[in-house]
């Protein structure tokens, strides 16, 4: 399995130069099995740049197939979809899976409404776009990849976390979740023993302690439903994960601060065997 990051920023794209080493695009992760079967996790702005890359292969000729797995439909996880160029090439096929509580097809179409977009309707994608809702406990087999999922707490709603396995290797993708009080049981179950855990770290431990930091400035409501670096590390330790990749960074978090917060965690865990790093746009790893 190969994994490549195209968007690692949370909530709002960050364009400031001091955030670009980690990366400023909203969530998008490319996963490939050994036969190049393509699964994409979330459709943030990073999806635009992945789409451009895909045009150099079968997607440029209208012969591409992919599966898009959505964690949820907040803007930062779907805003790249209208700019995904392969979806405008006849012959390509995009199969979307995501949470079902709000009629996924209608929610995705909602961002194309003429009030908000020149695309007007899902019918104006030239590729075949199939939208499916996950049922509880449903497992997917995509090429050599086995996918299972679980609902994760996230403030006043839920998101979907995914675990993807090829042979003996697996990753867990937990892009947005809240550990209210104790580590979320669904997250513990999903991450148990995986090789790489991709976990959100929107907050510093101090910000979480202070009740969360707002996105818009001092007077705006604090975004709730997020985790801290320390909670991601605690989950990784509790599940025997080998490698943690911090993900979904706050839009105001400069690269240097991400490094410092990770270094603080490394020092906190002492001799425990856990590699702590961050997901970085453009970075790739193989399992």
């Amino acid at each position: 399995m190969r994994v490549r990051f195209w968007g690692v920023r949370g909530a709002f794209a960050s364009t400031q130069a001091d955030t670009l080493r980690v990366g400023g695009n909203t969530p998008c992760v490319e996963v490939r099995d050994k036969n190049d079967e393509l699964v994409i996790l979330d459709a943030g702005i990073g999806l635009y740049w992945l789409g451009k890359q895909l045009l150099t292969g079968p997607f440029g000729r209208g012969k591409g197939n992919l599966t898009l797995l959505l964690s949820h439909t907040h803007w930062d996880h779907i805003q790249g979809f209208p700019f995904f160029v392969p979806a405008f090439i006849p012959g390509n096929s995009v199969v979307v899976w995501g949470p079902g509580e709000a009629e996924l097809q209608a929610v995705l179409a909602g961002q194309l409404d003429p009030t908000y977009s020149p695309l007007v309707s899902m019918d104006n994608f030239a590729a075949k776009v199939d939208v499916n809702e996950l049922s509880p406990g449903q497992q997917l087999t995509l090429g050599k990849l086995s996918v299972r999922h679980a609902r994760l707490p996230n403030g006043n709603h839920t998101t979907v976390g995914y675990r993807i396995r090829e042979g003996e290797r697996s990753i867990a993708y937990l892009p947005e979740l809240e550990h209210a009080g104790a580590l979320a049981p669904a997250a513990l179950e999903l991450a148990q023993g995986c090789d790489v855990l991709i976990h959100e770290t929107y907050y510093s431990p101090a910000q979480l302690e202070a009740g969360g930091a707002s996105l818009g400035g001092p007077s705006a409501p604090a975004a709730n439903g997020h985790s801290s670096f320390a909670q991601a590390v605690d989950l990784a330790l509790a599940t025997g994960v080998k490698r943690l990749l911090c993900f979904y960074h706050h839009p105001d978090r400069p690269d240097a601060e991400v490094e410092a917060l990770m270094q603080a965690e490394r020092e906190r865990i002492g001799d425990a065997t856990l590699e702590i790093d961050t997901a970085r746009e453009g970075a790739e790893f193989e399992l």
Binding site: A13, P114, G155, L215
Partner: protein, 301 residues
Amino acid sequence: MRVTFYGVRGSFPVAHPRVAGVGGNTSCVALRAEGAPTVIFDAGTGLRRLSKELVHEGFGDGAGEAILLTSHTHWDHIQGFMHFAPFYTPGNQFTICARADHDRRLRQVFEGQAARPYFGYGLERFQSKIAWKPVTEGETFEVGPYTIRTVRLNHPGVAVGYRVEHEGKAFVYMTDTAPYSQQLLGEGFHERKPETDPARIALLKQYGEELEAFVAGADVLLYDTFFTQEQYEENPHWGHSTAEEGIRLARQGGVERLVLYHHHPEAWDDVLEGRRDEQQNKHAGSDVKVGLAREREWLEL
């Protein structure tokens, strides 16, 4: 008055080192004048950066007053809206202007992009006082000390251009629009289809003339130059224009300064600077000065 750029990019925010100089945030511009409310043009991701300055200009204490003029409500022009801190401070006052939607109230248009299933909460969290003002292209209205004129722009769904006049100066904010030359854009989905019907060609001409009259005599024209000439020829149905068309409008209307704006996501810093220089050199003998909208820079009028 001073016009400052907070977001100069079109389509979506661009997090890329090759645009870090000019800037990657989507549309947002602020006009400030002594003793007058702040005028904000569009609420793209640049609004969040503006937000951080405004909290030090009275909006942090609930003493701020601003007018938000939105060209249209396509996503890249409103995506900063829910992230604007001054909305959440009691005491601040806003007038929000957007083109009247056919069947929806303006508040509903903005509400539709917030709350479930797209965002964590909705407009009910706002604490400031908001007056919603639907605008119709062609109308003129007064807000505070400003006279604001509007014009129809050639964009899918139709956008509105604004001319703000104050103390003898005029600033024109004109994005998103295709030239009124090949294809007339309006309601519904558009494919590439240059006009052949004489009635529609006549309409193109009429709207084009209205636009020329609208910019005439302005001090600054901030204009949608998303496309190169070649890109425009391929995509006259996208509703975006070129530096060449901006120059033509500015010269025709005796505009002092043209500012290139609403840059293509992949127009890298060096490309944009080259384009500005090229236009400047080509028109060195004319009265039009050509500038490039860059984040955090400003113009005095």
